[in-house]
Symmetry: C2
Subunit: 238 residues, 2 copies
Amino acid sequence: MPHFPFQRLQADLAKLIASLPAGARLPSEPDLAKQLGVSRATLREAMRMFEAQGLLRRRQGAGTFIVGQLPVMESGLEVLESIQTLARRLNLDVSMGNVSVEKLPAGADAAEALDLAVGSPLLRVSRVMSADSRPVAYLVDILPADVLQPEELSGQFEGSVLDYLLHRGDPLTVSRADITASNATADVAKMLEIQRGDVLLQLTAKLFTASGRVVDYSFSYFIPGYFKFHVVRKVGRA
Amino acid sequence: MPHFPFQRLQADLAKLIASLPAGARLPSEPDLAKQLGVSRATLREAMRMFEAQGLLRRRQGAGTFIVGQLPVMESGLEVLESIQTLARRLNLDVSMGNVSVEKLPAGADAAEALDLAVGSPLLRVSRVMSADSRPVAYLVDILPADVLQPEELSGQFEGSVLDYLLHRGDPLTVSRADITASNATADVAKMLEIQRGDVLLQLTAKLFTASGRVVDYSFSYFIPGYFKFHVVRKVGRA
DNA sequence: CAGTGGTCTAGACCACACG
DNA sequence: GTGTGGTCTAGACCACTGA
């Protein structure tokens, strides 16, 4: 008898998942736990990793489902392009939801990033991007109020602040992005329909104009498994 | 009475952590749980996020400790350089441990990545990099056996396969890295002295020579909070 | 050895989905 | 309403640290 239910459990789960067709529903957690001989807590812990890879989808009140071939969005990081542009290139169906546009005064972080005084008026745009009706990214853009007005987004906004600014003719040049991995906070988890604490790939970026002004400070949260970011690195010589 | 112990708990923990000096030990988990009015399981869950940020360090058998100013390694991704080179530039003390060098035949993945036949002889080099005696990265390099022999690493190896190949004069040009976020598997967690399931930033890379041959296929796992990777992105024009 | 964090269990209650 | 996943509890046992 193993002291290590967890390793066995992961292997068992992997087999179970592989044996089921896409869209199938797993047995309920209490049933499956009994069937696999572990407690529900342990089962849930083991499921987390499969969920992060995008192989499982849990929906409260409905059940846990097998996810088939996920629509992977692969992109290089050398060039900044919107998810919409990327999706168009890959011929994927992407939609926007949970849009929120609000004015707010600058906090310490945003003020420093945008090189403004604390309390300066800002516009905060947040939304969830979905592929095949599955939330895959949560995007938050923060801009100085003089750069973007709420009314401007009422008509043509399709989810990308970048595309909007480009279409308007802003002289954008580069973006500087910090890349990290994080756990989903409760609010982000809710938006992305994942569990609090699940792993996310996070980009924090500043968007610069030709004159060097920062016009957009953004946070982007991506569910791993749906995105593949890559970068080509030159070898540094000594 | 909150329905949501978790949010309160995170705030309480943040205060507690901020109020303690670096190096201090927290009360034991059972004690702290009682003190904060939650179960031990909930407390541990809440601690995970602080641990991922590098603010806490748990050591089995010893206790949970406050981590002061962590040695953050910041690096751009445009240029490939070893952690050793990076640390030297930042004047940080980095050391290597848990070195393992072994020969093994190519599996399907490695064979494809290195453009070899399945079963071809390979060399696998793995090690843990530590900063200030704290494990911060786990690195695995896989190379064709004809590129690198085990004996070559016995003397001069200081932790970087890249630096070794460069010093030897190999005509390396670029590396292509995939960036993702993942949960620590049991073995990686043990190496990095974190918990299974904790969040990691993961780079999977191929290293190319001038002739286009792949000479190194590598997996790198970084604890977020100790690393800040950034990239400058050019704005794509429509 | 005593005390710590690491793991797992069994059971409870809640919020939500769907018929 | 019924059944699902989401959260939390209380307690047990193990592996490890350090005096």
